[in-house]
């Protein structure tokens, strides 16, 4: 209960949480709310500036941008959650095992993670997409791969700091198997940093999905995706500035939400910033 009370008094977490919930609801229900069909073209209304009929304007096919942004929210959230789901599961598993057992298993795993770290994120994503081919599903995998090393590192660090504690030695003395120790004792205590990292990774995943779609590698037309809308906007910047502005705003808002939440959570969990 105290945790909840402190959570609600911490503005960042609340703000982030609100943004996420609002956007999440939009993502889930957006398809019901859209005034227009996101793929519905209206050639009479091409390049309409923002106005009463189309609050965010229309694009080169006369499609309503607001509706497309709402649909894009669904895509972004879906990709982000699945990618981070994969990434956190694999990464935490690898990191926890490496951190718990140590030795050569640790060495090898971390070496491999270091190699992945040696590639700047975007480049790695592009390379993985080159191997897998275009498409939303492959984008999810690519984003997941980029973030696995980070989850591994966070999990490993958390596990290492916990594994020396007394209850672990006690559990071993009682004869509990390693697997049970990892899942029942070590991980629950290491979960804090992992959750923080999850929120921050979700922020990045939204950014990454947008970037990959922007490059033409991720979500394929005609599915609306914020990144893809931005790349279309880039082409028509001269005639229709709103095409390049609103999708970007949406991306930034979503990323901010997850960043605020993660940062706030991190501050809450960090023993140094606690003032008890």
């Amino acid at each position: 209960m105290e945790f909840l009370r402190r959570s609600s008094s911490h503005r960042l977490v609340v703000l982030g949480g609100i943004i996420i919930i609002v956007l999440g609801l939009l993502a889930l229900l957006g398809s019901l709310l859209t005034p227009y069909e996101p793929t519905g073209m209206d050639f009479g209304a091409r390049f309409s500036p923002p106005g009463l009929k189309h609050p965010f304007g229309t694009d080169e096919f006369g499609r309503d941008i607001l509706s497309r942004i709402l649909y894009g929210a669904t895509v972004s959230f879906k990709v982000a959650f699945i990618a981070v789901g994969i990434s956190s599961t694999v990464g935490v598993f690898l990191g926890a095992v490496a951190g718990y057992y140590g030795g050569w298993l640790d060495e090898i795993t971390m070496r491999f993670m270091d190699i992945l770290f040696a590639f700047p994120a975007v480049l790695l994503a592009i390379t993985v997409m080159a191997i897998l081919g275009r498409g939303v599903e492959n984008a999810m995998i690519a984003i997941a791969i980029v973030y696995i090393p980070i989850f591994a590192r966070v999990a490993r660090g958390a596990v290492i700091s916990v594994r020396g504690r007394e209850f672990v030695t006690a559990a071993r003395a009682l004869g509990q198997s390693h697997t049970i120790i990892i899942f029942r004792h070590v991980l629950p205590n290491a979960i804090g940093p992992i959750i923080v990292q999850t929120s921050l990774s979700l922020a990045f995943a939204i950014l990454a999905e947008a970037a990959l779609s922007f490059f033409g590698l991720g979500t394929q037309p005609p599915t609306p995706s914020w990144g893809r809308m931005l790349s279309e906007g880039r082409a028509f910047l001269h005639q229709a500035w709103w095409m390049g502005v609103f999708p970007g705003l949406a991306i930034m808002l979503a990323v901010m939400g997850f960043n605020f939440f993660g940062d706030g959570l991190r501050d809450l969990l960090d023993p140094r910033t606690r003032n008890d």
């Binding site: 491999f112 700047p120 480049l123 592009i126 191997i131 970037a211 490059f215 590698l217 990144g227 930034m252």
Partner: protein, 301 residues
């Protein structure tokens, strides 16, 4: 480390489903023609042999092989683009530091002040804003509306310094601003931590003028953390450089990586990725080395 990078980069081609030979010849090609080309390109040899040939070709002759699409030598293209990427990265870092150092240090010196809050908001935006969107906004502002700067293209510095500057400013500023925003918070924390230390309080108690306290004591010790921060930020910076190259059509290795991916020119992709990752690793090494120079008590393992 670099070895591992090269292995992974080489692995791109074997990992792609289908054969590069078929990509080159097209879907209509008969199986015999594809097989013949594979033999000619040496694709039917064991992977380790292929890897060794590829690597030794690069290291001894600087030969990256031929493009799958145009059959031209890759080396020329790639060596042309490397300096372009490095210039952009360097300038972006400069811009980032020009922003982050004053902002971060001043925020730390006056925590809670208006400056601190503004810097905080600015850095929060910088972390969340998509780099490609920021590039678009800049283009909208400076190229479309104000018509001050071009939105794409590149002039080699040898040809015209003014032209070079005009073309590099927007991309470098985009990548640099974002990098700077991120670095601001870290520099602020590092500075705050140093300022809270005992020797700073001692220096102040001794009655030393504030400027000496800051310059001689605090900064000197914070510079180690700052260099670490720069090192950590390199990954984000280089990632932003890739994006910025693509948006502004800057002819660097990053945009080459994307175009070769879109065209399925895998050898070209390998070469650009390898070179990019190597440049990145090299710069990381440089920052590590400067770390050692700054703090004599650190032994380089």
């Amino acid at each position: 480390m670099l070895f591992g990078v090269s292995v992974l980069t080489f692995a791109i081609i074997p990992l792609v489903p289908g054969s590069p030979a078929r990509v080159k010849l097209g879907v209509q090609a008969t199986d015999e023609t594809v097989a013949a080309l594979e033999r000619q390109l040496g694709l039917d040899r064991p992977l380790t042999a292929q890897y060794w040939d590829w690597l030794s070709g690069i290291v001894t002759r600087g030969d990256f092989g031929k493009s799958l699409i145009s059959d031209k030598s890759i080396t020329g293209e790639v060596t042309r683009r490397l300096p372009a990427t490095l210039q952009l990265a360097f300038l972006a870092l400069l811009v980032g530091l020009l922003i982050a150092l004053p902002a971060g240090i001043t925020s730390a010196l006056r925590p809670g002040s208006k400056i601190d809050l503004t810097a905080s908001i600015f850095s929060q935006i910088g972390v969340s804003i998509p780099d490609f969107w920021m590039g678009i906004l800049f283009i909208l502002l400076f190229s479309e509306t104000l018509r001050w700067l071009p939105s794409s293209g590149y002039t080699p510095i040898m040809e015209s310094f003014g032209g070079w500057l005009r073309h590099i400013i927007l991309p470098a500023a985009t990548a640099g601003l974002i990098s700077g925003a991120i670095m601001t918070r870290f520099i602020r924390s590092a500075m705050l931590e140093v300022l809270g230390q005992d020797y700073v309080r001692t220096a102040r108690a001794k009655g030393l003028p504030e400027s000496i306290v800051i310059n001689k004591h605090a900064l000197r010790n914070a510079s180690i953390s700052i260099v670490t921060i720069i090192g950590l930020q390199m990954a984000t910076l280089f990632s932003a450089v890739v994006v910025v190259e693509i948006i502004f059509s800057w002819p660097g290795l990053g945009s080459l990586a994307l175009s070769s991916t879109l065209q399925r020119d895998y050898p070209m992709l390998q070469a650009s990725v390898l070179l990019f990752a190597t440049a990145f690793a090299f710069i990381n090494l440089l920052t590590d080395l400067s770390y050692v120079l700054l703090d004599p008590s650190v032994e380089y393992a």
